[in-house]
């Protein structure tokens, strides 16, 4: 707390700050979040590269050796690796997004109260929500791109349209992530809700959304899990663009529309719960 005396530039007028914040506030907070992620850069890079390698190798190549042996007709007539790979990409995006929308949100409101710093600047809570979403999207974009490149190296992307897996991954991740964010922002105290979500929502979705085999293989009574699961819709879109899986046009529209509606709804709700919580 020593006094700082130096030649200093002058801040621009408060009106200018207010106008800029109104316009660019979300981006300012996105920048804040992305800078925060730098602390985890090593982890992010290692998981972005390591996870695709591990999953493609074990659940793709390894599992393929016993699945392909059985000459099943269920895998679109292509190798198991190419069948599983797009779904593994989408799942990894969904899981990453889910994590970024639980603990960091609670961190922002409660643990380290990251949101309350910007809240006393001209930024408004809705912009914090949006900035958070944008920052996580950037991370997903990078992660999906890396995953896609590794898929290429494995020879697991068959269609020329396969690069579309990247936006599909981000979309599916956000379709699950933004509603979760709205929820996370609404809970006052983390009493294991996140572990419960991890165990009773995310994990079952990963396992029962047609990731490792077509949804129709499951007993009919369990197939509804897939229909409501953003992951299943993402998986189907992923297979469509990656291996040219056959899917009726109306269903493709349903997949895209379902995911898009979830994203929009999630953002609207999240902005509302951020505003309610911080301005209350």
């Amino acid at each position: 707390m020593t006094e700082v005396r130096s030649e200093r530039l002058h801040a621009h007028a408060p009106e200018v700050s207010a106008a800029r914040a109104r316009r660019w506030g979300s981006f300012y907070f996105m920048e804040h979040m992305l800078r925060g992620m730098r602390a985890y850069l090593v982890t992010i890079v290692v998981t972005s590269v390591g996870n695709p390698l591990l999953y493609l190798f074990s659940m793709g190549v390894g599992l393929a050796t016993i699945v392909d042996r059985s000459q099943s007709t269920h895998f679109e007539g292509i190798g198991y690796l190419a069948f599983a790979a797009p779904a593994l990409l989408v799942s990894s995006a969904v899981m990453t997004c889910a994590n970024e929308m639980m603990f960091p949100v609670m961190d922002g409101f409660k643990w380290r109260r990251v949101y309350y710093g910007p809240h006393v600047t001209p930024l408004v809570p809705g912009q914090l929500a949006l900035g958070h979403v944008m920052a996580v999207s950037v991370r997903l974009l990078v992660q999906c791109t890396v995953f896609f490149l590794i898929m290429l190296a494995f020879g697991a992307a068959l269609s020329p349209m396969a690069w579309l897996l990247v936006p599909v991954g981000v979309l599916a991740g956000m379709a699950f992530g933004t509603p979760l964010m709205a929820y996370a922002a609404s809970i006052q105290k983390e009493n294991f809700q996140f572990s419960m979500i991890q165990r009773f929502v995310i994990m079952p979705l990963f396992l029962f959304s047609g990731t490792f085999y077509p949804l129709e293989t499951m007993p009919a009574a369990m197939q509804w899990i897939g229909w409501i699961s953003p992951l299943w819709h993402g998986n189907q879109l992923g297979r469509l663009v990656s291996i040219g899986a056959s899917e009726p046009a109306w269903l493709v529209v349903v997949h895209i529309a379902y995911l898009a509606v979830l994203v929009v709804l999630g953002i609207v709700l999240a902005r509302r719960s951020y505003t309610k919580r911080m301005d209350a």
């Binding site: 985890y40 290692v46 999953y55 659940m59 016993i66 029962f208 293989t217 499951m218």
Partner: protein, 276 residues
């Protein structure tokens, strides 16, 4: 109360082994854990049980339909679900034990500050370590019991030997927990803690959980065979159908050594872990 005199201020040393680290009161730590569990929603206690069950349903039943039968230990074909079930139990024992002995410890150390408060009492680090490991093993025991029950309901248990899955699962958990704490003692930041995940994930994916080791080239097989999870998976798989071989003893020995070495290691690292 009468006023303290100088004579009240004379303490005598207790020269029993580990006296600096242990006050023979791990019970208090366990009691505290039990009190917390009781005050929590029961679902939190049992939730860990569901993960292997979900895996078993999804991979064993779903994927199993497409895979058909696979060769079990000893060569006789068994259903895919029966093949992966004991492996999933081993994985779940590992995951639970590692979580409880690493992340859980790390959090309570750095955020909850729970251990700081315990250490200001007459408890020593060894009391805490023993208490926490006991709690972790108790949880692991409950999950193993539940999972074995599910296996029974699904018709995956065909021999009385399978009852040994429960204590064996606790043994596997003990092996991992005894090492976990020692390893946590080297961790200072979240980023370093992530290293644990980087080691665990490949071990989970590659330790012959979902398909036989023989799919890999020989050098990779050797590496996998060096890791503890593979021994756990193989051991549990043998027990589940009661098909033993000389390798059974190797797997068992692996875990006994792991527990002894792990405990010695953790005891050595207790100061570094708790007394920073």
């Amino acid at each position: 109360m009468k006023a303290l005199t100088d004579d009240d201020y004379v303490l005598s040393a207790d020269e029993r082994p580990l006296g600096a680290l242990y006050s023979r009161n791990a019970r208090a730590v366990i009691e505290r854990g039990a009190r917390v569990i009781r005050s929590q929603n029961w679902i939190i206690l049992v939730s860990g049980f569901f993960e292997p069950v979900f895996y078993l349903l999804s991979m064993g039943v779903g994927l199993g339909r497409l895979v058909g039968a696979v060769d079990g230990p000893g060569g006789a074909p068994i259903s895919y679900a029966a093949y992966i079930a004991p492996a999933l139990l081993a994985v779940s024992a590992m995951n639970g034990a590692i979580y409880d002995s690493t992340w859980n410890i790390f959090f309570k150390m750095h955020f909850g500050k729970l251990y700081q408060s315990m250490l200001y009492t007459s408890l020593g680090p060894f009391d805490i370590a023993v208490g926490e490991i006991a709690l972790a093993l108790f949880r692991g025991f409950l999950y193993a019991l539940g999972f074995t029950g599910v296996m029974g309901i699904m018709g995956l248990i065909t021999t009385p030997w399978a009852l040994l899955l429960v204590p064996t699962s606790v043994m596997v958990a003990f092996g991992f927990a005894s090492f976990g704490m020692a390893i946590t003692s080297y961790m200072k930041t979240f980023q370093q803690m992530d290293i644990i995940t980087f080691v665990m994930l490949p071990m989970f994916l590659f330790s012959a959980t979902f398909y036989p080791l023989s799919v890999y080239p020989a050098p990779i097989q050797w590496i996998v065979e060096a890791f503890p999870l593979w021994h756990g998976v193989e051991l549990m798989r043998q027990i589940s159908i009661g098909a033993f071989s000389p390798a059974t003893l190797v797997h068992l020995a692996y875990y006994l050594v792991m527990i002894v070495v792990g405990l010695a290691f953790t005891t050595r690292r207790l100061r570094a872990l708790f007394l920073r």
